[in-house]
């Protein structure tokens, strides 16, 4: 009898250990949770590919299959790149030209998951990336989210958001040949108001489709994605740079009753801050250049601090900027512009996941979230900081050659 009890208890323990035994413990000088807070002297405990505990400095971490303890190391969640065209083959980064609105096109179908761009994102600390269809169509298609796992990126959400562009993107190169009269071959729209009119048509139709008895004028495949957007099942992700375009996006969604949307690529969000606050729209700030021909307008590095103070939900994204800055550089610039270090890290991790609607699963180092993490040689807000280790789903996927020597 006693033997049987011991056996049961032993079995129970074995089961518990198998489920809960941490596979990895990382001891850090500081841990950025990714929600704006930091913990000094923390240990990150990972089990089953998830964060199983974050322990303060007075709690001894459990023993694990591997323990990483690097002098001065600072841990953050893996970075989340909210707007990218990585892996899109030449041509696929453009748009389907059949129509101005192509909501049935999926970015995922144009992505080369083995593209070296994913590896180079991973080396800059990005573990999750949202890939958008092109900017040449008014509605370009549906974006997807992938993790930057080595060898081939892993899709985690096939259809993340409907990608719509307000502004000059879709009008580019649409003017008539050599300044002549527009003909039936001239691609439209050619103005910003034309772009918005096209969006309004699409959205109002989508709203109509959700009414009983509505006859679709347009192909089923277009209508379906739009109808899902109208029901809030597929958020709409706008690209709107200027204040006027931001306001147009808010107006359109109010008119058509689009319940879930966000605005990205903005460089004038500060001018529309009251409207963004009132509409409770999350914002992705554009590439924070403070140079250019119109510096009074161009996304200034103090914008994140001022949006944060105003209570607007925001995140930073590199967008299609390929001038050599990394996503972390944006956070560093925001920090230099006065944003608190913890919130600057959050702007490229937890906040970015929230703006993209991925926050249920990743973006912070909270218990139960995917164990996507980065270990930096010193606080990542310092421009001298180097990525030492990166992990996705609890598995170490990248290690700096200088870090492996010091591995315990």
């Amino acid at each position: 009898m006693r033997f049987r009890i011991v056996a049961v208890v032993a079995t129970l323990c074995a089961v518990l250990v198998a489920q809960g035994a941490p596979e990895l413990v990382i001891k850090a000088r500081r841990l950025h949770v990714g929600d704006g807070t930091t913990i000094e002297g923390a240990s990150l405990v990972i089990a089953g590919g998830k964060v199983s505990a974050v322990l303060g400095k007075d709690v001894a971490p459990p023993s694990a299959a591997e323990t990483i303890e690097l002098a001065d190391a600072v841990v953050t969640p893996g970075l989340v790149e909210a707007e990218s065209r990585v892996g899109m083959l030449r041509g696929d980064a453009d748009n389907e030209e059949g129509r101005e609105t192509t909501p049935w096109v999926r970015a995922l179908d144009g992505v080369d998951r083995a593209h070296p761009g994913f590896a180079s994102l991973l080396r800059s600390g990005v573990t999750t990336v949202v890939v958008l269809p092109g900017d040449r169509n008014v509605i370009g298609g549906v974006s997807c989210a992938l993790k930057t796992t080595p060898d081939a990126a892993t899709p985690i959400v096939d259809e993340l958001a409907l990608h719509a562009v307000i502004g000059r993107g879709p009008t580019a190169r649409n003017s008539a040949f050599r300044g002549g009269e527009p003909t039936m071959f001239t691609r439209r729209p050619t103005t910003r108001m034309g772009v918005i009119a096209e969006l309004r048509r699409a959205f109002l139709e989508a709203a109509g489709r959700n009414q009983p008895g509505w006859q679709a004028l347009y192909p089923e495949r277009e209508g379906l994605a739009l109808a899902r957007a109208g029901r809030g099942e597929l958020p709409v992700a706008f690209v709107a740079q200027e204040a006027a375009e931001i306001l147009a996006a808010i107006r359109l969604c109010t008119e058509a009753g689009i319940p879930k949307y966000r605005i990205g690529g903005t460089i004038e969000s500060l001018l529309a801050v009251e409207d963004l606050k009132a509409a409770k729209v999350p914002v992705l700030l554009g590439p924070l250049f403070n140079v250019g021909n119109a510096p009074e307008k161009g996304g200034a590095i103090s914008d994140p601090r001022r949006l944060d103070q105003a209570g607007v939900v925001f995140a930073l994204s590199r967008g299609t900027d390929d001038s050599g800055s990394t996503l972390l550089d944006l956070a560093r610039a925001a920090h230099r512009g006065g944003l608190d270090a913890g919130r600057a890290v959050a702007a490229v991790t937890g906040f970015a996941a929230r703006v993209c609607g991925l926050d249920g699963r990743l973006g912070t180092l909270a218990v139960g979230k995917d164990a996507d993490f980065c270990v930096w040689s010193t606080d990542p807000m310092s421009p001298t900081s180097r990525l030492l280790v990166a992990g996705i789903g609890g598995r170490i996927v990248w290690r700096d050659s200088s870090a492996s020597a010091k591995k315990e």
């Binding site: 510096p295 050599g324 512009g337």
Partner: protein
């Protein structure tokens, strides 16, 4: 209302007047030439650094900046850029007769930003999409016209080993052709100097016209100018070194990251090199197919090659020299070497090692009062000084105060 940009700069710059006196007190000093000093004063007299030390005494007439809690370092030196020009290159390939003198536009935002960012010695050159690009100029970002801005009038001529069209062989042939022409011209000119004037007005005019076009190359061969030669591949370095030796001209190499394989050759030269803003390259290992990162500054440092860093104004981070220096620290280069690369070594690479790039007695009083350590990533230029004269103050910078809300020093 938008005030035209030039006026923003000129409001506090006026014309660049003669040198002045200044005393900076209680600063944490990063002199670059030696170890950091926790607290000291720096005295500038007649535009030159006159004394460094604690508790310096100076006349009451000398303006004082209290830099307590702030860092003082030499102004940054940009060893090569094509910014400030309307266009970087002529569409012809061999244009040694053009000069950036005629292309620098003092109203460009680049100069405003350089004043704000503390880059007070700038070597502007024609671009590298060329064979021979023309004459460069070392300037300060302050002045109404180029003449006011000039520090060194014709220090350099741009060469490129990278063909804008054709292949490397044609590029070499074109370079040799131009150098041979210059050599012949110089020989003829010297021979002509020994003979009497032709007496024919037409002939003399022809000769004069030809001289104007050819003088840059002649001065290069007479070692009065230095070729700044752009190389993107290791083979370019080999050819550039051989060519300079063959024709006997002075040369500085401007290196793309792909030249890292030529590092042993560079080490033997014992000359400072200039690293282009793109400092690292990714190569695919032919055996494993895995990408390998090559960081040129780290490789140069390991072999003891002194290097200067440059900036790329279209990038969020790379537009700042402090950011470039911090990136090099991230690559494993010691902090003092990284700081020298944007100050003293940069000055040495353009022949100004004796006057610019460090805070030492006798050098020009070009210094910055920074809100924080230059590599902290949070540092702003609070006060900028050129030859003892205050050219920039953050609290009066309209862009920092009104546009960015960063003028109060509390952010």
């Amino acid at each position: 209302m938008r005030i035209p940009r030039p006026f923003i700069a000129f409001a506090f710059l006026a014309a660049f007047v003669s040198a002045q006196d200044l005393l900076v007190r209680n600063a944490r000093l990063v002199p670059v030439a030696g170890p950091d000093v926790a607290k000291t004063d720096v005295l500038i007299r007649d535009g030159r650094i006159a004394a460094i030390g604690e508790g310096l005494k100076a006349d009451l007439s000398i303006p004082v900046i209290d830099a307590a809690g702030r860092t003082v370092m030499p102004a940054y030196v940009l060893a090569g850029t094509t910014e400030g020009l309307d266009r970087a290159n002529e569409n012809m390939e061999i244009t040694p007769y053009v000069s950036v003198l005629d292309a620098i536009d003092p109203t460009r935002p680049f100069f405003d930003d350089s004043v704000r960012d503390g880059v007070y010695t700038i070597h502007v050159m024609p671009g590298s999409r060329t064979v021979i690009g023309g004459a460069g100029r070392v300037i300060r970002p302050v002045g109404r016209v180029v003449e006011d801005m000039t520090i060194v009038p014709d220090p350099s001529v741009t060469f490129s080993m990278v063909p804008p069209q054709g292949n490397r062989a044609t590029q070499m042939a074109k370079l040799r052709g131009a150098l041979d022409d210059a050599k012949r011209y110089l020989e003829n000119k010297e021979a002509a100097a020994d003979t009497r004037p032709s007496g024919s007005v037409k002939l003399d005019l022809e000769r004069l016209a030809i001289e104007r076009r050819r003088e840059t190359m002649a001065r290069l061969l007479k070692k009065q100018m230095t070729a700044f030669t752009y190389c993107s591949e290791p083979g370019d370095v080999v050819r550039a070194l051989a060519l300079a030796k063959e024709y006997g001209y002075q040369q500085r190499l401007v290196l793309g990251p792909g030249t890292w394989k030529a590092v042993d050759l560079l080490a033997a030269e014992k000359q400072p090199v200039i690293v282009s803003p793109e400092m690292e390259t990714e190569e695919t290992d032919p055996d494993t197919g895995k990408p390998v990162r090559r960081e040129l500054p780290a490789i140069l440092h390991a072999k003891g090659v002194p290097f200067a860093l440059t900036a790329r104004p279209t990038s969020l981070g790379q537009r700042y020299l402090w950011y470039q220096a911090a990136s090099v620290v991230r690559m494993g280069v010691p902090r003092d070497v990284a700081l020298r690369a944007v100050t003293l070594t940069a000055a040495e690479s353009i022949g100004l090692g004796k006057t610019k790039g460090s805070i030492e007695t006798g050098k020009d009083g070009d210094l910055l009062v920074l809100s924080d350590d230059p590599l902290s990533g949070r540092s702003w230029v609070d006060v900028g000084v050129i030859e003892g004269k205050v050219v920039y103050e953050r609290r009066t910078d309209r862009r920092m105060v009104e546009v960015l809300g960063l003028g109060d020093g509390k952010n």
